[in-house]
């Protein structure tokens, strides 16, 4: 499992196995009510800069690496509408930015500034949303600092609030390096060890 910030994926080139960059990521399309990455909307590169009518479904991604989104060839792209339909998005991921994270005990943890995703290393694996980067509230002690909070498999979300279990605040992390273990420990105490 490999963790990355959703913001870092924006503008990453989409490269075929032949080594051609045929697009770049414009935005992330979330699926499963924001719990997974369903695919990407794309923009052209170089001479073809600007939005494209084609998108990329997560199933067609060979690998999401630190520097590129790898696909087999051009045929991996499909109409953006198809990507959106497949994702049947409940709530877009982009618009969680700025939302307030509340615990089920009614404590404000802070505002979402980024989404943390986990990429499965096995081909055909999911691309899971595992946490948010938040600008911490007073409840977390250090107001204004950036913290990573783990998420359960599914969360309740409205236009203003994202509801997380109260125990989430016991599993915050300061950097991505330690966050994988936090997510694991947090989910283990919610659902039992995997």
């Amino acid at each position: 499992m490999r963790l990355m910030r959703a913001s870092g994926i924006i503008k990453r080139p989409v490269v075929t196995m032949r080594g051609d960059d045929i697009a770049q990521v414009k935005d992330i399309v979330y699926a499963a009510h924001g719990g997974e990455v369903g695919g990407f909307t794309l923009a052209g590169r170089g001479m073809f800069a600007g939005p494209m009518k084609l998108g990329l479904a997560w199933q067609a991604v060979v690998a999401l690496g630190a520097d590129a989104v790898m696909i087999s060839d051009e045929s991996a792209l499909e109409a953006t509408s198809v990507v959106f339909d497949a994702a049947a998005t409940g709530r877009g991921g982009g618009d969680v930015l700025g939302s307030q994270v509340l615990t089920d005990s009614g404590v404000d943890l802070g505002l979402v500034i980024d989404v943390i995703i986990a990429v499965s290393e096995t081909p055909g694996g999911k691309c899971d949303v595992v946490g948010y980067e938040i600008e911490a509230s007073e409840a977390l002690g250090t107001k204004g600092t950036k913290l990573l909070i783990p998420l359960p498999d599914t969360i309740a979300a409205s236009a203003e609030h994202l509801m997380v279990p109260a125990s989430a605040k016991d599993f915050v992390s300061h950097d991505l390096a330690g966050f994988g273990a936090s997510v694991k420990a947090f989910r283990a105490q919610l659902y039992g060890p995997v």
């Binding site: 196995m17 080594g19 790898m70």
Partner: protein
């Protein structure tokens, strides 16, 4: 042998002992992981010498039976030529989407034309791992 040391080498006819061209660039077929032709500095006959028409790729000269072997590039060779298909200086991506550096030089087998390794600052990548060479990157399989 390396691309860097082989570039500029003279091409000599075994029939007349004349220098009939000079190596300018290498045309690589990523599918075969091999050099399939040499691009030469422009001569009267053309600018392409197919690997199969080379008698020997020696340490001092490339030999051919005759200058007639230097021809205009066929469409299949043109499709593998040009900046988009050059390996030297291009970024290297793994099939996993990670940037591992830039191709500094290529090591190839002078007998067969097979690419034996890609030389990067971070270390050598076996030629057998080569997957594609495109406008953006050279793609290699993970170890």
């Amino acid at each position: 042998m390396r691309f860097s040391e082989a570039t500029g080498r003279q091409v000599v006819s075994t029939a007349t002992a004349d220098t009939v061209g000079r190596v300018d660039d290498f045309v690589v077929d990523p599918r075969r992981r091999a050099v399939v032709a040499l691009s030469l500095k422009r001569t009267d006959g053309g600018d392409t010498l197919l690997w199969t028409d080379i008698v020997a790729f020696g340490s001092d000269a490339v030999t051919v039976t005759s200058g007639d072997k230097i021809v205009d590039a066929a469409p299949a060779i043109v499709a593998l030529s040009g900046k988009e298909h050059r390996l030297i200086g291009k970024r290297v991506l793994t099939a996993g989407g990670d940037d591992i550096g830039t191709v500094d030089d290529i090591e190839f087998d002078a007998d067969t034309g097979t690419i034996t390794s890609l030389l990067l600052a971070a270390g050598d990548v076996a030629g057998a791992r080569l997957v594609g060479v495109g406008s953006y990157a050279v793609v290699v399989r993970p170890k």
